[in-house]
Symmetry: C2
Subunit: 111 residues, 2 copies
DNA sequence: GCATACTGTTACGCTAGCGAAATTATTGGC
DNA sequence: GCCAATAATTTCGCTAGCGTAACAGTATGC
């Protein structure tokens, strides 16, 4: 892959997201969502904050927003009730499937 | 490219951007920047607003922000002084070169 | 049982983004 | 010359994000 193609790919994916009616997720929100879906559970606020090198309220707020969109679910850890476990949802899976399709599609187009 | 790899690629690129000290550009800002650099000039506020399907103040504000970061430059069109022509900068080129390297790098890693 | 440590959330003051509407500057029709 | 059209910006009220600091709930050591 060459630089021009990489940037063109990136541009088209970003543009598709901007044009999409779904309110844009921020870079941080997207990163959190992908981490929850791609890396093995359990996922906690503290763990995500450490991985992204941001403060815990950033994670709490992102979970509030994405929770309202039903992309993510929160649940108390019954083993240690201080923890909150972050879980996947059907809607979140669908959202990421569509994102994957978009990437693959644009990757093919720029070939 | 399969779905899992596409998402992993996307996650790693997003994470790198989040971890980077440079203040994150929003999806819209990134799209504007890429469009300016990848598509043939001239670029105007109106043209970009139409392409992204957003209002003109969104473009004005994005140019303010990215102008302050010296990623982009504004110049009056001397032919029709109502227009503003948006131009590339050295710093913007460097920024996108680094982005391209990152994409290529992560694409290689996920292979 | 009580102090301490730890987890996630809330409160606070602030900044940046948003769309709609008003405003300024410029052009072109007539 | 003047009026309507056009391009970009500014203003308005609003929402959502940010980090710091304070807070509430839970677990653990002694």
């Amino acid at each position: 892959m060459k630089a021009g193609r990489a940037l063109k790919l990136w541009q088209e994916i970003c543009l598709s997201q901007v044009l999409d009616e779904m309110p844009d997720l921020s870079l941080r929100q997207t990163t959190i969502l992908l981490t929850i879906y791609l890396e093995p559970p359990p996922h906690t606020v503290r763990g995500l904050a450490a991985k992204l090198n941001v403060t815990k309220p950033v994670i709490t707020r992102a979970l509030d927003t994405m929770g309202a969109l039903e992309l993510v679910n929160r649940r108390r850890d019954e083993n240690d009730r201080r923890n909150v476990l972050i879980q996947r949802t059907v809607r979140g899976s669908v959202y990421l499937e569509k994102l994957a399709d978009l990437i693959i599609d644009k990757y093919g187009e720029t070939a």
